[in-house]
Symmetry: C2
Subunit: 434 residues, 2 copies
């Protein structure tokens, strides 16, 4: 029996009450959200999660961190460090995007240590195994894709990016569009290469029901990938992107009909003035399926600072209704992230998510801001810092610049601290009498 | 003869053509903007500027960096380093907020080295000199404030923050509001302390015309400070803040009537969903005067990362029409920024400004994004980096993670680079035939 069937029969998973409490929502609204498909609970039957996560409408905005080896940095231990760091600074989920080394072994070691849901992009492994076996991607067998998916499912992967929207129809649309950066999705590029060489439809689309069977068996949440997402401002919201979104919307229906949980991935690179439209389109076309955005990056020029460009875009997307933000690290577009990059990326995405939650009136978020602000007013540094988004960094930043500071103020204003002047010299009562 | 009179008579400053070209606007629209008060040109008659700046409607969004000594870090040389760094990474203006050491000497040395307009907050120096002279702020003489203003004007300061909106009327509003963080503006706090002790109206308000005379004499642009800006999400857009904005709007009229250029300062801490309203209110109440926002910070919890919270808020504010973003460094709320903090703060604010310019359709901004994206597609690292917002950092970030990378790709995707697969394996022509 799967989660959806259980809920339909009124059988609640034991952790639902606790989750609802943490999210400050009623258990009923959580259940209804899952049944409608507006909320998902990514959890493989084989993965014990210490920190299960619910993603979707009316809930706290969630954050994902991508980790994984690459050709030039095939070091599993480094990726475990990234996993632990990402969890330490509060990521809600992690994706293993490894493309080098013993992929099965790496995934299993990450799964073992991950107390949060783990996602993968199985087409990577299928493509890489094809290259290893026969020197190319384009002769990959269709069954091999599904074999990898099932192998990863058996290991306990909680959610999988499936680029089922890269179809002959969307490629037709792509061929008519004069894109600046073409295709920027690795999964999308693998599948397009295969489809053109084979002259065939995308197996993930054509055999989508086969995928649904596996997903149902292991309780995998499908994350419909956007293989044709824009790679620059100029390509944002173009016809191939929206054409693919329509296909993804149809697949959402199919997944729901089969009792499989599903979310939809979104761009990418999007100017600020197009973010609202992108979110509203996804919510309409995909019938309220949770929206998982990769950024979006609001400019293409900030190499080395794309955690900031995507914090801007992510905050805005989440404010308009995106539910799940994939982090972007400062190393994006330049190389594989380091452990420190992962930390910066997660914190930037969490800031974006939290700022959107504040704007949406999320109670838990407001309480945190209010409490910190009261401690700020009272110049209580310890409490302010312990409640902040990354206490370790805040503590360090305070300490580094406290040369000679003996009082309760900081080294910016010192004795000219506005809070101190107003609180101590005048006092609220004096002000009220004025 | 002042700039406004000159323009009215059809006399153009010699650099107007070049500025209009750089901004990609017609000279006429620049002139009309200045005459309407929707655009300002902060330039003291005694300050030769290598990089003059125009701020306002229809122009590229500008960025300001605050520097200056404090009680615990009274090192002028460090502040000169900050000045040069801020200019190197592209700040449009700088403000000297020094509160320790020989303030006249520090300001003069900064002015000498600043190729961009320099701003100050003269009430700081007036208050500090009063403390030095008589041990307190509250017995400061009214004339002393104007004496400091004229002293700074003579030195060549281009724009000055004047907290003339802190009046008995706005204080009445403040006394009725149960604010969480009270007053967070230093200038505001100094003046409130003085007003309550003296039982008198704010001299900067009561003798505003005296200020206008000095401003006119030296061509100072007045930046109307928001002494009652909110210091946390909970206090945002409250009555005292908006009450002060109304007073500032009235002062805008007065300044314009006297041919003095004026801009208006804005918050502060503002949730994402209130930013649009804040910008629209300023534009209405202050009759289109350029809006200079201090952030805004979209959450209070991100100690150590407030350059990111303010990049989110600043991008959104500028998108809705704010013209000028005051940077916030990662050290905000924790201490006086270091040189490195200044760099991070300026770049984050420039990213916000640029992203807003993209969203507003600014031609120059679009050209830069398009060019970078074309080079990204062609895997031309050198050109991509040289056109990026902080080439030095991008270069370093690329180099650090290029272990063993001999090809043209980066260490993230290596041989699985989507751009490479699509461009080289398939080629655009193959795709078109598909």
């Amino acid at each position: 029996m799967g989660l959806i069937e259980d809920l339909k029969k009124g059988k609640l998973p034991e952790n639902f009450k606790k989750i609802a409490q943490e999210e400050r929502v009623e258990v009923d609204s959580l259940v209804n959200g899952v049944l409608k498909g507006e909320i998902v609970v990514p959890q493989n039957i084989f993965h014990k999660l210490k920190k299960p996560v619910v993603i979707g409408k009316g809930l706290r905005t969630k954050v994902n961190a991508n980790i994984g080896t690459s050709e030039y940095y095939p070091f599993p231990q480094e990726e475990i460090k990234k996993l632990l760091t990402a969890i330490e600074v509060g990521t809600d989920t992690v994706m293993d995007l490894s493309t080098a080394g013993d992929l099965d072994k790496i995934r299993r070691s990450i799964l073992k240590k991950s107390i949060v849901p783990l996602g993968t992009v199985p087409i990577y492994q299928a493509a890489i195994e094809s290259i290893e076996k026969r020197g190319n991607i384009v002769e990959m067998k269709e069954d091999e894709i599904f074999e990898v998916i099932e192998r990863q499912a058996k290991d306990g992967v909680d959610f999988m990016t499936i680029h089922a929207g890269v179809t002959l129809k969307t490629l037709d649309s792509l061929s008519k569009e004069d894109r600046v950066t073409g295709v920027v999705s690795r999964g999308g590029a693998f599948l397009i290469a295969w489809m053109i060489h084979q002259g065939k439809e995308n197996p993930l689309y054509e055999q989508f029901e086969r995928l649904l069977e596996i997903s149902k068996k292991y309780e995998i949440t499908i994350s419909l990938g956007d293989g044709l997402r824009p790679g620059c401002q100029a390509d944002a919201s173009d016809r191939p992107q929206i054409q693919e979104l329509i296909v993804l919307g149809e697949l959402v229906d199919l997944a729901r009909k089969n009792g499989v949980q599903v979310i939809v991935e979104g761009p990418g690179h999007v100017p600020i003035n197009q973010i609202e439209a992108n979110v509203r389109m996804e919510k309409e076309i995909c019938r309220g399926a949770p929206f998982y955005v990769l950024g979006p990056l609001v400019t293409d020029v900030a190499l080395g600072y794309d955690h900031i460009t995507s914090a801007i875009g992510g905050a805005l997307a989440a404010f308009y209704g995106a539910d799940f933000l994939c982090y972007v690290t400062p190393r994006e577009h330049l190389g594989l992230p380091t452990v420190e990059d992962v930390r910066e990326g997660v914190v930037a995405a969490r800031i974006a998510a939290h700022a959107a939650d504040i704007a949406k009136g999320n109670k838990r978020a407001w309480e945190q801001d209010l409490e910190i602000s009261k401690h700020r007013k009272n110049l209580n540094w310890e409490k302010q810092i312990s409640l902040s988004i990354d206490p370790e960094r805040a503590k360090k930043a305070l300490k580094e610049r406290r040369r000679g500071v003996k009082e309760e103020t900081c080294s910016m204003c010192g004795k000219y601290c506005a809070m101190k002047i107003i609180s101590q010299v005048l006092g609220v009562e004096t002000l009220k009498k004025c």
